[in-house]
């Protein structure tokens, strides 16, 4: 059945291709690197598809529940008598789903990049980094151990850093990569301390033991729930801190500022890392620890829910005002991840209670498909137009018909129009919210409407609006602007999946407790959100399908708010103020000053005192023999007197 060596190959293949391409690719086979990387990823994808098939259908449910299978586990570092960091492979519905998504999207991006990155001097390096990322991401989702996930978490962060900064000659890319790394690093500090808190009380780092110990009544649970710090129990602190790490990677408020800038990386990278896979790591982490959140600490789950909905709404508002198409997509990613987060936040555990969990995972699944498609489509557009700005685009539907159709399908999917993929997952999320928290439900419906609006604003601005005028003579050679086949193939595959992915019976496969449940489709409930989405699309059509002054007027009438949203509510400025003004000027500079002047100054003072002292007494050393003789005789005489009269 499940062959553990076979499973181990899934993460190992990318790391092997990373080593081969990274060490030798650039010098010996620069052109072939892309093919090599793609082939290894193809194998990994096929393997993970087989594993998924076997897991879901051949091994299947035992006692009506999908079991968690530890396929492999090695002790990596035995830190304490009963705590060790392990490296292993854990299979359960969410990890199996994730490896399929990761390998699949990664494969698409690999294929796409063959065309997109063609002619790039550091082509081999690019593929090496992609492989490294895929390895880290697979390691992350397959982790058996909370420390293992942290290790791969950091590795994912660094691959993201390397890929954002791929065009390292551009200062903006370097700045963006730094920003992404440092912001997520800051969040990871919370994660690390959260791990330390959780592991200290539960005396384990292993996920299954951890969950078992912290969800059942017993000494572990009572000790962690009993220990309190500033008004909250250690358990709440631990979980909230772990969630902070997740919020960092998943670009949730207040750690969201890195994601839009991360778009400085090559577009396929944005599709893979900053849309489909890495950014959902935070959602995955919360899902991984969901039993603890749900059973033992509803307060922490509320934090997840409110952060999720707030980020989602915030990002949707900002997305409506951005003009860089990749930034619009970035904010839409943040908004959609917010959906996944609050879906988890409102969910209960087990059976139908766990609808939110299921919906979140479902949305993660469908979102990764259509968001990757959107990014790859945007990449094709950018490849053609050589600009990220909406004002440079328009009327591309005639020039890029295939891209146009696939992009439209993705927009429909994300807007939640039936029967496309996003509709089903979003419906489940809204239903879960309706069942538990009406405030979140209201905000979620509003956000869904905004999503439809800004996505179609984007769509109309790119493909309709004005006629396209090329700034680049190369394109006026009679061809229409369609990208090469390697770029179109992933678009078409992903577009096909965006249509059908919604019909996957997720509630049977991926649920909070592993047991399936039946979902009912409430046509009456679904109607409202659909109507809102459709009217938002019509509004977008009205405003953006032709060049008009309407958008400008709307913007003017909302002046202050529009500017604030356009400026992303000044979060960047606030962070810059805190780092530059406070950390650098108020901590760093004084620290350096104190070191130079106080501590070093003290040492120099000691030295100068010594020098001054020797200056003062050096005149004794006159070089005159007879003076020395006087001192000598005087000394002798002194000693003689001393011994005769004072020494008794």
């Amino acid at each position: 059945m499940l062959n553990s060596n076979c499973i181990a190959l899934i993460p190992l293949l990318p790391i092997i291709s990373f080593l081969i391409i990274g060490l030798a690719g650039r010098r010996y086979f620069p052109k072939f690197s892309g093919i090599l990387g793609t082939l290894s990823l193809l194998t990994a994808f096929i393997l993970s598809a087989i594993v998924a098939f076997q897991y879901f259908f051949e091994v299947g449910k035992v006692d009506g529940v999908y079991q968690k299978i530890v396929a492999m586990k090695y002790v990596w570092l035995h830190l304490l008598p009963n705590v060790s960091i392990d490296m292993g492979i854990l299979l359960d519905p969410i990890s199996v789903m994730m490896i399929v998504i990761v390998t699949f999207i990664s494969l698409m991006v690999h294929i796409y990049s063959i065309g997109y990155m063609h002619g790039e001097p550091r082509y081999a390096t690019y593929y090496a980094f992609l492989s490294l990322f895929t390895f880290s991401m697979l390691g992350l989702v397959l982790s058996t151990n909370i420390f293992q996930i942290y290790i791969f978490w950091e590795l994912v962060g660094v691959s993201s850093f390397l890929l954002i900064g791929f065009y390292y000659e551009k200062p903006s890319a370097v700045a963006a990569s730094k920003k992404a790394f440092i912001v997520t690093r800051f969040a990871d500090l919370g994660f690390l301390i959260g791990i330390l808190v959780l592991s200290y009380y539960s005396e384990t780092l292993d996920f299954q033991t951890l969950i078992a110990r912290l969800t059942t009544e017993g000494p572990y649970l009572s000790s962690i729930a009993g220990a309190s710090f500033i008004g909250a129990s250690a358990l709440t602190w631990g979980l909230v801190l772990v969630f902070a790490g997740g919020a960092g990677k998943s670009a949730m408020f207040p750690f969201h500022i890195w994601l839009p800038d991360a778009m400085e990386g090559p577009t396929p990278v944005s599709a893979l890392i900053h849309a489909a896979t890495m950014v959902v790591a935070g959602v995955y982490l919360v899902a991984r620890l969901f039993p603890i959140f749900s059973h033992s600490c509803p307060q922490a789950l509320d934090v997840v829910a409110y952060i999720g909905i707030f980020s989602s709404l915030l990002a949707a508002v900002i997305a409506c005002t951005q003009t860089d198409i990749k930034r619009v997509l970035a904010y839409s990613t943040m908004s959609q991840i917010g959906f996944m987060m609050f879906a988890l936040g409102v969910s209960g555990y087990g059976g139908e209670e766990g609808l939110g969990f299921m919906a979140s995972m479902f949305h993660l699944f469908t979102h990764s498909i259509f968001k990757a498609l959107l990014f790859l489509g945007a990449g094709a557009v950018i490849h053609y137009v050589h600009s990220n700005e909406m004002k440079d685009m328009g009327g591309l539907r005639k020039l890029m018909p295939i891209t146009h159709i696939t992009f439209l399908l993705a927009c429909l999917a994300i807007a939640g129009i039936p029967p496309f993929a996003g509709f089903f997952s979003k419906e489940e999320i809204l239903l879960a919210c309706w069942n538990s928290n009406k405030i979140i439900f209201g905000a979620a419906v509003l956000t869904a409407g905004l999503t439809a609006f800004y996505m179609f604003r984007l769509y109309f601005s790119i493909f309709w609006s004005k006629e396209f005028k090329s700034h680049n003579n190369n394109h006026d050679d009679g061809h229409h602007g369609e990208a090469p086949a390697t770029m179109l193939l992933p678009l078409i595959i992903l577009a096909g999946l965006s249509v059908v992915a919604g019909f996957v019976p997720f509630s049977q496969l991926v649920t909070s407790d592993g047991a399936g449940f039946a979902t009912e489709f409430h046509i009456g409930f679904a109607l409202g959100p659909i109507l809102i989405a459709v009217s938002a699309i019509i509004l977008a059509w009205f405003m953006y399908s032709k060049e008009s002054l309407v958008p400008q007027k709307v913007a003017d009438s909302l002046k202050g708010f529009y500017t604030a949203a356009y400026r992303k509510f000044y979060f960047d400025e606030i962070y810059l103020f805190v780092t530059k003004k406070i950390v650098f000027n108020l901590i760093g500079r004084p620290a350096a000053w104190v070191d130079k002047n106080i501590f070093d100054g003290f040492m120099n003072l000691l030295a100068s005192v010594t020098v001054a002292l020797s200056e003062a007494i050096k005149s004794f050393q006159s070089g005159k023999t007879q003076e020395y003789a006087i001192y000598f005789f005087a000394g002798t005489l002194g000693f003689v007197l001393l011994f005769i009269y004072l020494w008794t």
């Binding site: 050096k618 050393q621 070089g623 005159k624 023999t625 007879q626 003789a629």
Partner: protein, 104 residues
């Protein structure tokens, strides 16, 4: 010889010693200074002999020391004169104040 006691001899040797010290401290000519040192040494020799004779007449230790000091004094004089000659060669002077190179 009854009138002459240990004190008399010690008085002479002390006088000799301080004459030597005075000479050593005031004379600028290195040869003279060397001679002053010889005076000091000889005052000590007298001391040794006197103590030997008056206090431990049955022993010869004082005598030995005297001979020892004379030998040392001879060696010392030759080394000192060698130094003086070298200083003269380099400084063209045997004034002790000119040989003040070894200061701070």
């Amino acid at each position: 010889m009854n009138g002459i006691g240990l004190e008399h001899i010690l008085f002479i040797s002390t006088a000799l010693f301080f004459i030597g010290v005075y000479g050593f401290l005031t004379r600028k000519n290195m040869i003279t200074m060397l001679m002053a040192i010889e005076l000091i040494l000889n005052s000590i020799n007298i001391n040794f002999l006197a103590f030997n004779k008056y206090l431990y007449a049955d022993k010869l230790d004082g005598l030995f020391f005297t001979i020892f000091i004379i030998a040392i004094a001879a060696a010392e004089a030759s080394v000192a004169i060698a130094i003086i000659i070298h200083l003269y060669r380099s400084l063209k002077s045997i004034d002790v104040d000119d040989a003040d190179l070894m200061k701070f």
